[in-house]
């Protein structure tokens, strides 16, 4: 196989080094490496990170191929610097059987832009009543280890307890979408000053926090590990911090949009800002950033949720919830965490690659950039600043809240097991 020499890259933001890729593996990392027989990529001081890993992506296939497919979704992932994504189970049909998860897994492998690791549903049809065949999904070719009813909360305490217990048998983890359903009936946006004024149904923070509190206590009681999807409130941060201090095996994620955007944007009634969980307040945003910096929140996950134009080009109440995020995630993290001094690039590698790979047990991903490791790499031009133009997205959908916003950083190259999937910002 071919060789590639990345010359003068700041590995994890450190001093410039050369990185030699041979086949699917990092051959060497050092200074003045020989370019003999290798294609040379002049990094020129760009930052080299391990390929990013997204624990929370909606690829929509099967069922909603009008908004995204495994192909378009993995191309978007490669554009954003990702080499592995975890595909959520809320497809049509639901990924609650070995058959569906194997199909999604195989499509990802065939397209070759980004590894796709399917997430299995916790309950049949995401209905929250009957456990799906978790073991069969784990034993399938897809090797599912993460289970989630994301989009819906596993709100029945007994079902949640059983799921937490059951997946221990094969080292799985349940990722909870924390949303108390009764408290969020008719909910349209964060409940607070802005919702009161706009007359939109309130989505109280406590609807998220109460479920997280319950689930960390359940996890402690049955000795399981639990992962909390898209934490969005300052109160949730406090609960997770408390749980970790108690030694409870809990991990948590935050989305890029919850690190940057607030419910003030809803004043435009533009459904591009409609998302689940909803955009919260400035105070929540600051608490989330701090928690990501201090490790209370373990990872950044995109909750990439593509929707066709017509599902957003309407009145707020009728619009679908969700935002695309794969192609802007790293830029938003640079804007909110790196450029603010809260996190260095090694920290970004930790939150967006090492830890998500570890939580999801994505073999070969989230590895150090060193000799002998799989060549899953991302090269980032951190000096770049540009305006987000969704017309250039690889995703099939355009529902980004950042259109027209200036953000820093641009992924120029992505390598998946040594094969370039993105070169100079263009997909291969």
């Amino acid at each position: 196989m071919s060789k590639t020499l990345i010359r003068g890259a700041r590995v994890l933001g450190g001093e410039p080094q050369d990185v030699l890729i041979d086949g699917g593996t990092v051959e060497a990392v050092g200074t003045d490496l020989s370019a003999e027989g290798a294609e040379v990529v002049e990094a020129g001081g760009k930052v080299l990170l391990p390929g990013l890993v997204d624990l929370h992506t909606h690829l929509r296939e099967p069922g909603r191929e009008d908004s995204e497919t495994v192909l378009t979704g993995t191309r978007a992932a490669a554009s954003g610097g990702y080499t592995a994504v975890f595909a959520m189970a809320n497809t049509f049909p639901v990924a609650d059987t070995a058959g569906v998860v194997e199909q999604v897994y195989r499509l990802g492998r065939e397209h070759g832009y980004c590894d796709v690791q399917p997430i299995g549903a916790v309950t049949v049809g995401l209905e929250g009543r009957k456990l799906a065949e978790l073991g069969a999904m784990h034993d399938s070719a897809a090797g599912v280890t993460v289970f989630s009813d994301d989009g819906k909360c596993v709100d029945d305490a007994v079902i949640m307890r059983r799921a937490l217990e059951y997946v221990k048998a094969f080292g799985g983890v349940v990722a909870q979408h924390a949303q108390e359903p009764r408290l969020t009936e008719g909910a349209q946006m964060n409940e607070g000053v802005v919702s009161a004024e706009l007359g939109l149904g309130g989505w109280p923070a406590v609807a998220e926090e109460s479920i997280i509190a319950r689930d960390v206590l359940l996890a402690e009681h049955v000795g399981s590990r639990v992962h909390i999807c898209h934490l969005s409130t300052a109160g949730s941060v406090e609960i997770v911090r408390w749980a970790k201090s108690r030694g409870i095996d809990v991990t948590a994620e935050v989305t890029p949009h919850h690190l940057l955007l607030t419910d003030e944007l809803v004043r435009s009634y533009d459904p591009v800002y409609k998302v689940n969980p909803p955009l919260r307040t400035e105070r929540d945003v600051m608490a989330l950033r701090e928690a990501l910096a201090d490790g209370t929140i373990d990872i950044v996950a995109t909750d990439h949720a593509p929707h066709p134009h017509e599902d957003k080009d309407c009145e707020w109440a009728a619009a679908a919830m969700g935002m695309v995020g794969l192609e802007t995630a790293l830029s938003v993290v640079q804007e909110t965490m790196v450029d603010t001094g809260l996190l260095d690039w090694a920290g970004v590698a930790d939150r967006m690659s090492f830890k998500p790979a570890r939580i999801g047990q994505a073999t070969g991903h989230g590895r150090p950039v060193s000799a002998g490791e799989p060549a899953n790499l991302t090269l980032v031009d951190t000096a770049y600043r540009g305006t987000v133009d969704p017309a250039g997205f690889a995703s099939r959908s355009r529902n980004t809240p950042y259109e027209g916003r200036e953000l820093p950083g641009r992924v120029t190259h992505t390598w998946l097991r040594g094969k370039a999937t993105l070169v100079d910002g263009k997909l291969t």
């Binding site: 919702s195 004024e197 007359g199 009634y269 080009d313 309407c314 109440a317 009728a318 619009a319």
Partner: protein, 331 residues
């Protein structure tokens, strides 16, 4: 300059007083043998109602016809709002028909704002009530009624409601009337107090420019006007209050309570009234209750709004929130 009327919060004090003063002149047309003005001849106004509201629709229709506008009534109820497409499609259909203004009633908060700012349509948009957000012409007609009763029909001209104490009682949470009134009455210098069980006040209402109380009896003697909001019986099924009887006892207005109000204080109701719930028949039928006047005043206010938005080559009312690059362009 404002082309639309989306929220009472968008009106400045001078805008609001201009509308009230104009409505006072419009009201005089109702006393004439021929209740018609040629002002909007050749202008087409669509009443686009996604939600049933015969009262509001008829009031707008009367106002439009008195100003000689061509009126199209479009009841879109039943056409699938949940499918989302319908508002945009309907708007573009109306645009193609060349309408000058859309009076819209919609169950979704923000639908009129979307209509005005999304680029789907170029016509002026008048909000006739959206979800639990705003109902600006209702607030204007309420303020008009208060100014007539509390300041005076002629002495009120050019005046606001400075220092008047207005109490709004009932289901504030689900009320666009309450939101619009708080905004407008504050702009006009009145002191507003909301009275409701805590379950029927929105979280976040503490940021509104008004006082909040749970005790109706304490507030009544200090009220120049008491506005009773409709309370739907179904709310008790969602545990907003235990029973109808308990609600009436704590927050309903009966003859005894009315007697505690200052002598010249008025009782207002946006209608339709639920007699025996928030208001007793004795109060509703008393001379202090302005519910019927409010209906008549609604036509005058809507004539004034239509005239000021559509009567010239550009609107006479300033605008803040709904202004975007589009709205400032020449039509």
């Amino acid at each position: 300059m404002q082309r639309h009327l989306i929220s009472a919060a968008d009106l400045t004090r001078d805008d609001a007083v201009l509308i009230l003063d104009t409505a006072e002149e419009m009201a005089r047309v109702a006393d004439r043998p021929i209740k018609k003005l040629p002002t909007l001849r050749g202008r087409t106004v669509v009443n686009l109602f996604f939600e049933d509201s015969t009262r509001t629709r008829i009031s707008f229709e009367a106002a439009e016809k008195r100003l000689s506008a061509d009126v199209i009534n479009f009841s879109a109820k039943g056409s699938s709002v949940s499918k989302g497409e319908s508002l945009k499609d309907t708007a573009q259909t109306l645009e193609a028909m060349g309408v000058d203004a859309v009076v819209i009633r919609h169950g979704a908060s923000g639908a009129p704002y979307r209509l005005a700012t999304s680029g789907w349509i170029d016509a002026a948009v008048i909000n006739a009530g959206d979800g639990t957000h705003q109902h600006p012409t209702q607030a204007l007609l309420d303020a008009f009624t208060m100014r007539r009763r509390l300041v005076g029909r002629d002495t009120g001209l050019g005046q606001d409601l400075a220092g008047k104490r207005i109490t709004i009682v009932g289901d504030v949470l689900h009320s666009r009337v309450a939101r619009s009134n708080v905004d407008l009455l504050h702009t006009l210098g009145a002191e507003v107090t909301l009275v409701a069980p805590p379950t029927l006040l929105p979280v976040g209402a503490s940021a509104w420019p008004c006082e909040i109380s749970y005790d109706l009896d304490a507030v009544l003697p200090k009220s120049d006007a008491v506005m009773m909001l409709r309370v739907q019986r179904e709310r008790m099924n969602a545990a907003f209050f235990p029973t109808e009887r308990e609600y009436s006892r704590r927050y309903g207005l009966d003859g005894d309570r009315m007697a505690r109000m200052p002598e010249d204080a008025i009782v207002m109701h946006p209608g339709p009234m639920v007699r025996g719930m928030e208001i007793t028949a004795e109060v509703a039928d008393s001379g202090r209750c302005t519910a019927i006047e409010q209906v008549a005043n609604g036509v005058s206010i809507r004539m004034a709004v239509l005239y000021l938005l559509l009567g010239g080559n550009e609107p006479a009312v300033t605008q803040s929130r709904t202004t975007d690059s589009r709205t400032t362009e020449e039509k």
